[in-house]
Amino acid sequence: MAVIFIRTLIIYLTLTVVIRFLGKRQIGEMQPFEFIVTLIIADLACVPMSDVSIPLVYGIVSILALFIMHQLFFLLERRGNFFKKILSGKPSIVIDKDGVCIAELKKNNLGVDDLIESMRSQGYFSLDAVDYAIFEANGKLSALERTDYKAEKTSIPLLLINEGRIDKSNADKLQITEEMLKEFLEKNDCSLSKTEIMTVDGNGRVYFQKYKEKYKILFFELKEGVEF
């Protein structure tokens, strides 16, 4: 019983550390220590239930050990910000008034495409639709909408340049060739390697952000017949 209890504690602690390092992408609206309980409790209950050669007490001890650890973490988390930060992490501001904060995204093992996906699920289809976007400790995105956002008519923007790399499939959809893109960048006094993020929607509206600079809204003349 004691051996199983200690083994469960070791696995729980290891999983907590790993999940914390994996970042917010792996968590679905739960704190890391809650996520782990959800992840393993079903297995713990199922194995002794279905395998009659394993005494039921093994499953019960493991489940009780998980319960104890969860409650202890819960109590620690409520004791103050220090423990909360260690156990659950802290919210990350991934979009501010200057644009997308790539460093914050990277800290959480996220990319611009993940951010765009999360924003879409919140009903925002453009990176400039919000003044602030925050990835909460539980992996959920909270956004503060720009006051004048709804007045603008936009179509779905596609990610064209992500940290200096062209997304060729999106470029094909928008019928933008590499030459057209380079010409556009030169016109805006930039190069591919200096471009952090560039999205273009079907109306040619561009969200353009150079490294360490505030984003700009520009216009890209798309070929005739491009509908998106």
């Binding site: 019983m1 004691a2 051996v3 209890f5 200690i6 083994r7 070791i10 009659v52 050669s53 394993i54 005494p55 039921l56 007490v57 001890v61 009780l64 050990a65 319960f67 104890i68 409650q71 202890l72 819960f74 109590l75």
Partner: protein
């Protein structure tokens, strides 16, 4: 407050359970080890009868009902198997082979309780 009480209660239940389990298993296997040792001596003297083995078997059957709650059933099966083989060998008066079987039983009765003790090799 409710959380603290629930955690303390769970810890107390687990600690008490662990102590009871440890003592219970040790006691059961100590008794079995004693019976196996007597059987070993009798086989060594070639005075053991089938009745002696069945007496040990009877004792084991009574103990195994409660041991099922704590020990993986495969380990229990092993003792069943070795004990059954010993009975057949004693009946056929094959003393040397019977001795080796009881030797295994003695060893099992010493080793199984060890797997429940708190030690680095058991944890990892």
């Amino acid at each position: 407050m409710k959380t603290v009480v629930s955690v303390i209660s769970a810890i107390i239940i687990l600690i008490a359970g662990a102590i009871v389990e440890n003592r219970f298993i040790k006691k059961q296997f100590d008794e079995l080890n004693y019976s196996f040792s007597i059987l070993y001596e009798k086989i060594d003297d070639e005075t053991a009868t089938e009745k002696d083995v069945y007496a040990v078997k009877e004792q084991w059957l009574n103990k195994k009902k409660s041991l099922h709650a704590f020990i993986p059933h495969n380990e229990i099966k092993e003792i069943d198997l070795w004990l059954f083989e010993t009975a057949v060998l004693v009946r056929d008066k094959e003393w040397t082979e019977a001795l080796s079987k009881v030797d295994v039983l003695i060893s099992l009765s010493k080793e199984i309780p060890k797997t429940f003790s708190l030690s680095v090799e058991n944890i990892f």
